[in-house]
Amino acid sequence: MSKLITYGIGGYDESKPNNNIVEEIDIPDEETNETI
């Protein structure tokens, strides 16, 4: 499980609620050949 965090237009902004993060969701791990 990993996370996907989405900011609104303009990106990180301390003046906006939640620093302009508009969505924060958990996404299931995909089977990949990535090496992390």
């Binding site: 996370k3 996907l4 965090i5 900011y7 237009i9 990180y12 902004d13 620093n19 992390i36």
Partner: protein
């Protein structure tokens, strides 16, 4: 008669003759008589001047091979240097410079060209486009270095997210700026800024951070960029491994054959907003920036 004077008097006209002065005085003019009959026709006039030549004067490409009494007009054949009439031809292999392609020949060439056009599919809606490489691994980018990933847009398309992903070893907090650059077709290198999307504040490993955008791109090459502008304890991001040749035809070129590779470009000492690229270098590995299609 008296005093040697003769006087004739009529009702309307009168004539007075005065012998003393040897004069005859008509004291009143009579009424004008009727107009006389039309005179005889005058003599024939002199011969006029000779007229101009009867030869028709024409301008190119029309020519006249006739005489003053019989014109013989034609249109010259056109060439690459002179206006004129051309014969149409259906040929798609002729090298003539004095004939012209008929619409049928144009269609034949067009239909053939369509079968030979190299096209790439557009990115399906909701999917992410990334610079191609032979693999992915965690990379630790240099702070304040803008890293450029080459992508190709095959058809005009809109995108709504630009993203980057932290690696498993990432920890701490990093401010990472994301954006898109134009490609200079003359040099094949990044040029001006298409979009500075702003920054994300990365705080966790194995996490995708993305910024909402509204960006349409026309077909062509572009560069997706990221720049870690404040360092985490460990900046590890998902990236292209060293020696992962980007499989774009013609993008890697080297001064001599060898174990060269091309992962993208970098530009050091970039803080704050993105600006036109200038002093580019070639990092051994770079983080991958993603672009999501609408």
């Amino acid at each position: 008669m008296s005093d040697n004077t003769l006087t004739v008097t009529e009702v309307v006209n009168s004539v007075t003759v005065t012998p003393v002065n040897n004069t005859v005085t008509v004291s009143e003019v009579g009424t004008q008589g009727p107009a006389g009959a039309t005179g005889a026709t005058g003599a024939t006039g002199a011969t006029g001047a000779t007229g101009s030549s009867g030869v028709v004067t024409v301008n190119a490409p029309i020519t006249n091979a006739g005489t003053s009494s019989a014109a013989n007009l034609s249109v010259s054949t056109g060439t690459t240097s002179a206006v004129g009439v051309l014969q149409l031809t259906d040929s798609t292999s002729s090298t003539s410079t004095t004939t012209a392609a008929a619409p049928n020949a144009v269609k034949t060439a067009y239909d053939y060209a369509r079968t030979r056009t190299f096209t790439l599919p557009v990115v399906p809606s909701g999917y992410y486009l990334r610079s191609p490489s032979s693999g992915s691994q965690g990379v630790t980018p240099t702070v304040n270095r803008t890293n450029f990933n080459l992508i190709y847009i095959s058809g005009t398309q809109s995108f709504d997210r630009v993203a980057i992903r932290t690696g498993g070893a990432f920890n701490g907090t990093a401010s990472i700026r994301l954006g898109i650059y134009n490609n200079d077709s003359a040099t094949g290198k990044p040029s001006t800024v298409v979009l500075d999307a702003g920054t994300v504040s990365a705080t966790a490993a194995n996490t995708t951070y993305q910024i909402t955008i509204s960006q349409s791109l026309d077909p062509g090459f572009y560069w997706l960029v990221s720049n870690v502008q404040s360092s985490a304890t460990n900046n590890q991001l998902l990236g292209s491994p060293a020696a992962a040749t980007e499989p774009f035809v013609n993008t890697p070129w080297v001064s001599s054959p060898g174990n060269a590779y091309f992962s993208g470009y970098g530009e050091n000492s970039i803080t704050g907003a993105f600006a036109t690229a200038s002093s580019l270098m070639t990092p051994t590995s770079i983080p991958i920036t993603f672009l999501r299609a609408v």
